[in-house]
Point group: C2
Chain length 202, copies 2
């Protein structure tokens, strides 16, 4: 079985940035890790990429997040599992995936919290932000937004795709595709889901 971290490395150069951006725009949750008192500290977070920045959004009440908010070195890790690769031998089994690790320092986002919320919302449910009222000042005051820059050389993007290693051909080998699916919307109030929600169900 082949580890997720060893195959088909695409380092941060040239056109590979397109691969990174596509992954960041598709995946909805990543893992933020930093160092607190010499020990690793991690939390999964919703995020959005806006240009050359990753935006992370939390509550001002989230103590640990605040603690690491300014200037802390951090990693932000995302992945998409795309398939399970079935081979003749257990050793040759593998996974198709795309992953990225971005290293950088967390920065507080002071201005335009409302814009950040809209960016995050538009990434999760495209079009939703324009269907709801403008965010109030009280609401933006209760949020904490962090960002991390995507530079020229502070990230690593890796992927594996394709079929299993060649074997004897005597037994079945292949790939089981894996993907994140949106189900039928479950109504809490109202009659018909808005356009944003309907278009998310492809």
């Amino acid at each position: 079985m082949t580890a997720l971290d060893e195959l088909n490395r695409y380092r941060s150069r040239g056109a590979d940035r397109d691969v990174l951006d596509a992954l960041l725009d598709e995946v909805k949750v990543g893992v933020l890790s930093t160092v607190v008192d010499g020990l690793p500290w991690s939390v999964p977070m919703l995020f959005a990429r806006v240009g050359d920045r990753i935006l992370l959004h939390g509550s001002t009440g989230a103590g640990a997040l605040r603690q690491v908010a300014t200037g802390a070195p951090a990693t932000f890790t995302v992945f998409a599992l795309d398939g399970l690769v079935v081979a003749e031998t257990l050793f040759d089994h593998s996974a198709n995936y795309r992953s990225a690790v971005i290293r950088g320092c967390l920065e507080m986002v002071e201005a335009d919290e409302a814009d950040v919320l809209r960016s995050l919302s538009d990434k999760l449910i495209p079009g939703r932000a324009s269907e709801v009222p403008t965010i109030t000042g009280k609401e933006t005051a209760a949020t904490l937004t962090l960002s991390m820059a995507i530079g020229d050389d502070n990230w690593l993007c890796k992927a594996r795709s394709g079929g299993p290693a060649e074997g004897s051909g005597d037994t079945w080998t292949g790939v089981i595709p894996v993907s994140l699916q949106f189900g039928d919307p479950v109504t809490a109030t109202g009659d018909e889901p808005p356009a944003s929600v309907r278009s998310l169900r492809r």
Copy 2:
């Protein structure tokens, strides 16, 4: 919009371990983070839970993994995104999810590498390990297995489920379910997928 890290905390005590185990047995990839030279270092990895241990599997050629292999403090973070929660205001939008962070020290697994590979395989594709030949000594020599103990108080499991915060009721609100799906197997060699592969497609 509500952050993934602030809702419905289930701390590690009593029956909550069941929630953790169910999550660990369902999710196939987690993020391993540790500290190297004072900086955070992260990598996504396939894993399996066996009893009170998380087993992580890599290649002996993966240098960074070897560097952190023995005794390094680490976190292992897993999450499942279960739904997008659509509310009346952008601020009240949220996500349904389950997540866990386990803190501990990485240990090398010396014995029974073959058993570890079987455990990992059986987690990813239940039943597959018994359909393939026994792993060879050469193959196990090329693998590096790390483990982290699940103790009484070294993990945090959190979740949010249910509908959106109550609003005026004038507009549609609800939840868009999200889940990881297995597609139809894609054949590389052979005719008919084995029972393990067929049963994975529910």
